[in-house]
């Protein structure tokens, strides 16, 4: 109730919506109304084939949970996402630090990098399928490339923003190149690197789903694609519900981590 404004001339119903309980309560009521309309309204019943219904979707979800279908797909998506993300981050940070420290190489490469950065990576998906097959490796590669460029540009920016005087101070103390990277560049670029990594989580998830929609035999994206292909809208909606839950959890997780990160 801490954030409730002083009562003043508000009516009691206005006050209700500004309290946390009131806000959450009204949201739940709104969702309940939508679900009820979707479930029971005559229009919705007439279009069941296209629109499905909350109860049917829940039923399908329950069935997937019980027979284990869901876990296999969910696991596949999360593994692809995590592996691609990890590879992309490590390669992006490493390359970024290197280019940050070799400004001449960086100048030569920057137009090329800018070109690749601007390219929607999903355009590479069919190519990766040819090169690496339909299994996880092509999808991991796609996610890794997407994450790589996001983390790379952020790392380069971070290194570029480092106060040159800090570096000169250490050079005069006799620091070697590696010592400067380890003790100054990495730390100074850290806030930028974290920003890049945070942004990329969502891109990694989206890219994984897109890759699975395009060519896959497992994963949540594949589940959506499979069910839509069979005109099983209920199945497609059920898979989308899982995706929504995943993104909400991911967002929640990220904001928690962010809150914990220390600032100097």
């Amino acid at each position: 109730m801490a954030d409730a404004p002083p009562a003043g001339d508000q009516t009691s119903s206005e006050r209700f919506f500004t309290t946390p309980t009131g806000r959450i309560g009204s949201r739940l009521v709104l969702i309940a109304i939508i679900l009820m309309v979707w479930e029971f309204a005559p229009v919705a019943r007439a279009t069941r084939f296209w629109m499905s219904s909350p109860s049917m979707i829940l039923g399908t979800l329950w069935q997937w949970i019980v027979d284990g279908t869901l876990w296999g797909h969910l696991q596949s998506t999360l593994i692809v996402m995590a592996e691609g993300y990890a590879i992309g981050c490590i390669a992006g940070i490493g390359t970024g630090l290197l280019l940050g420290f070799l400004p001449r190489l960086s100048r030569v490469l920057s137009p090329l990098l800018a070109g690749f950065y601007a390219l929607p990576k999903i355009a590479l998906a069919p190519l990766f399928v040819i090169l690496l097959g339909v299994d996880n490796s092509s999808k991991i590669a796609l996610v890794a490339v997407t994450v790589f460029f996001l983390v790379l540009t952020n790392t380069i920016d971070g290194v570029r923003e480092v106060d040159r005087n800090m570096i000169s101070a250490l050079v005069l103390m006799g620091a070697t190149r590696t010592e400067i990277i380890r003790k100054v560049l990495l730390w100074a670029a850290l806030p930028w690197i974290f920003t890049g990594m945070r942004i990329s989580v969502r891109y990694a998830f989206t890219t994984t789903l897109l890759a699975e929609l395009i060519a896959a035999n497992r994963g949540l994206g594949f589940l959506i694609e499979l069910n839509s292909g069979n005109f099983n809208t209920t199945g497609a909606y059920a898979a989308i519900v899982v995706v929504v839950i995943c993104s909400v959890l991911l967002t929640e997780l990220l904001s928690r981590l962010e809150g914990r990160m220390s600032h100097w």
């Binding site: 000169s168 005069l172 103390m173 006799g174 070697t176 730390w187």
Partner: protein, 278 residues
């Protein structure tokens, strides 16, 4: 007791047998937005081994430029800088440089910042020994109780002191200081001057010290180089013949000190008026 002779103008460019640093006709021009700014006219200066030399002059007279050239962080537009008889062509690792703006690492605490030189291979030291050195240094510069603060949590004067401790801890043979005491209150400044004097005398360092404060310069220096307003050039070099060790708290009240101060001030005042509106 404190005998001091009249200022003496040396002929620039004369070789000194034991010169530690030689500036030979160094010149510096900056290009800023298509404008040529001459920071330093052709300048010659010999800095002797174990000498404490102060550079004074109006703002923008190239004092900091001289330090940057000696540190090898800048290249002269013309002329050469010799250090121990060898030309400085890149970062000069034999000098410790305390810049005007401190370059403490913002993510490190005070004690970690002060220890950093001892973590490098070039000054490697066992950790426990390094921590002892850091502790001593922190006491020396009066930062006890602030060991675990980050630079952002320190005052300007404290940051200056931390930056100084960070450089002094690895005992460079030559110390370049760019207005290190500007942000300190006067009592603390005197304490630091005292410490700096005993440290540099004890360890036989050569010091090039840039300052605005004539009193500071007289208290500490063997020689004072007076530079003229931009483009900087050497106007005069004053010998300070006060006995060492000097009592930094009392030397200011001697007549020799005030005479020297007056002479320096006469030399500087026209230029300072000119310099401020640049």
């Amino acid at each position: 007791m404190n005998e001091m002779t009249l200022a003496r103008i040396e002929t620039p460019g004369i070789a000194v047998a034991n010169a530690k640093i030689r500036l030979l006709g160094i010149e510096k021009t900056f290009h800023v937005r298509g404008q040529h700014i001459e920071a330093l006219y052709p300048t010659d200066l010999d800095i002797r081994r174990h000498e404490f030399i102060a550079l004074v002059g109006p703002s923008g007279c190239g004092k900091s430029t001289i330090l940057n050239l000696i540190a090898g962080l800048m290249r002269p537009t013309a002329g050469r800088v010799l250090y121990d008889g060898q030309e400085v062509t890149g970062p000069n690792r034999r000098v410790g440089y305390i810049t005007q703006k401190d370059t403490l690492l913002p993510w490190r605490t005070t004690k970690d910042n002060i220890r950093i030189a001892l973590e490098l291979k070039s000054h490697a030291m066992p950790r426990s020994e390094a921590n002892d050195c850091v502790k001593q240094m922190i006491e020396l510069v009066g930062l006890k109780g602030f060991e675990n603060h980050t630079p952002a949590e320190l005052s300007g004067g404290m940051r200056k002191r931390a930056a100084m401790a960070r450089t002094l801890i690895y005992e460079p043979e030559t110390l370049l200081m760019d207005e290190p005491f500007g942000a300190l209150d006067s009592q603390l400044k005197l304490l630091m001057l005292d410490e700096l004097q005993s440290l540099t005398q004890h360890r036989r360092m050569s010091v090039v010290f840039v300052t605005h404060d004539l009193g500071e310069a007289i208290t500490l220096s063997d020689r004072i180089v007076v530079l003229s307003a931009r483009p900087g050039r050497i106007r005069a070099i004053h010998d300070v013949r006060l006995e060492r060790p000097r009592d930094v708290f009392k030397v200011r009240f001697t007549s020799a000190f005030s005479e020297q101060h007056e002479r320096l001030w006469d030399e500087l005042k026209d230029d300072i008026v000119k310099g401020t509106d640049v």
